[in-house]
């Protein structure tokens, strides 16, 4: 308990230190030495003022909610596509040999590369953003699903076969539960890809969302708002990761003593 308290205190001190250092650098660079223009350098106090403003009129919360909903829709579509694609790549040796390298390649594309396509096909709409999210995260998840199934210990499969399990039973009762921990980790990583892709998509369009709030900040030459949104994007991503994915992961792992 005491140790925990010490840890929490350490974390608080660390971030307080960063804030103070940041404010001092700003003070020295902008006010004292005038190396930077005040509109090009954010400061903790300026970010705080932006926060009060955007939180006060409710636009920040709206942006978060819109982004999250969009992210969730895109992520779920990507999840289904990724799972099906991963399964097929695993099940058919032909696809594993030929399609997998292609999927691997596509997966390395930064999601921003899909933006021109999506705008041509869907215009400056919600769908365009969701398309970018799907393209940005589905392929990585497909690879994860394929790997997870491939890594099921062969001894488990052999044991099930010698107990008379057929193909369907092996998928349902062995492969699925055996690959679950690795799959959950893959899906968790998929979320971080989806969240990044979401921002690439949002800054291109005019739909309400965090990406749009960021661009508005740039258009108003309000560097503090830009900084604020960046911080919110990071925090939201972390919160979802910790509340949703980490919890699922914990549960799956605990049962197996991992």
């Amino acid at each position: 308990m005491k140790k925990n308290k010490g840890k929490t205190l350490g974390v608080i001190l660390f971030f307080a230190g960063i804030l103070i250092a940041w404010q001092l650098v700003y003070f020295a660079g902008v006010d004292l030495l005038s190396i930077w223009k005040s509109y090009a350098m954010p400061s903790p106090s300026g970010v705080w003022i932006s926060f009060i403003k955007l939180a006060g009129d409710g636009s920040l919360l709206a942006a978060i909610v819109y982004s999250l909903v969009r992210g969730a829709i895109g992520y779920l579509i990507a999840l289904v596509i990724g799972a099906v694609l991963g399964f097929l790549m695993n099940h058919f040796e032909y696809l594993h040999r030929n399609l997998r390298p292609l999927v691997m390649g596509i997966q390395t594309l930064p999601s921003i590369c899909w933006v021109p396509f999506s705008i041509l096909w869907f215009g400056l709409t919600q769908q365009a953003i969701i398309f970018v999210v799907v393209m940005g995260s589905a392929f990585g998840m497909a690879i994860s699903v394929d790997n997870a199934i491939r890594n099921v210990p062969s001894i488990c499969l052999k044991a099930a076969r010698t107990m008379g399990a057929n193909k369907r039973q092996i998928y349902r009762k062995v492969i699925l539960p055996a690959s679950l921990p690795e799959m959950v980790s893959g899906l968790k990583q998929g979320w971080s890809f989806a969240w990044r892709a979401l921002m690439s998509g949002e800054v291109m369009t005019t739909c309400t969302g965090l990406g749009q709030t960021l661009i508005t900040g740039r258009n108003l030459a309000d560097i503090n708002q830009v900084m604020l949104v960046m911080i919110v994007i990071v925090l939201t991503g972390i919160v979802i990761d910790q509340t949703v994915f980490r919890q699922i992961e914990k549960r799956v792992y605990a049962k197996r003593g991992m």
């Binding site: 052999k158 044991a159 010698t162 107990m163 399990a165 539960p177 003593g257």
Partner: protein, 248 residues
Amino acid sequence: MSLILKNVSKQFDDASQSTLNHIDLEIRDGEFLCIVGKSGCGKSTLLNLVAGLDQPTEGEILLNGQKVTGPGADRVVMFQEHALFPWRNVIENVKFGMEIAGLPKAEQEEKAMHYLRMMQLEDYRDYPIHQLSGGMRQRVALARALTLDSQILLMDEPFSALDKQTSNRLRKELQEIWMSMKKTILFITHSVEEAVYLGDRVVVMSDVTGSIKDVVPIELERPRYVYDEKFVEYRHRILSEVQGEEEV
């Protein structure tokens, strides 16, 4: 039950010579048959063929006159590593095979508990696998194998990953179980002592030719004791057959 291997040979695709060469063997109903041989002589290969996990390149394996073409619950295997499912607890593991077979839930429970009791594991019913010792895991695996009432039980060095003391205890338990059930068992081991202790007959395999070198009936009353004069005699005789090839 009758299990016959007829002129069985196995050559792996990437191997220069045959791992198994013209194996003829009959496993009798209710018999405890042990196979010994040096590491790499093809014992596991032979067991995998009987299990149907692999196909012979030549010859055939007949179970009750029917050619073996794939794995099935009539030939359950117990492996060297425990092969339990880590996402299932003890009783769920024991029930796995019965679930596959579609037995009614009540019957699954009853049978699973019966065999857990036989293994003295009834108190560990709801334990996760990772909290069991190696010996307990193998006992769970044995319970799981027995629930299926298979025609024959195939065991591939099931105790060799355990420490000596635990493996001695388990083989004693297995002897008792076999004496009460008279189940047909094909048991593979590299320990001659284990083979003489458990087997009605001991098959000695040669790693030079990949064939059967000798079949030794063990005419000792059960329960057997490793310090018996006769036991030691058998042991020496088979040991020298296994090791004999070193002089060649």
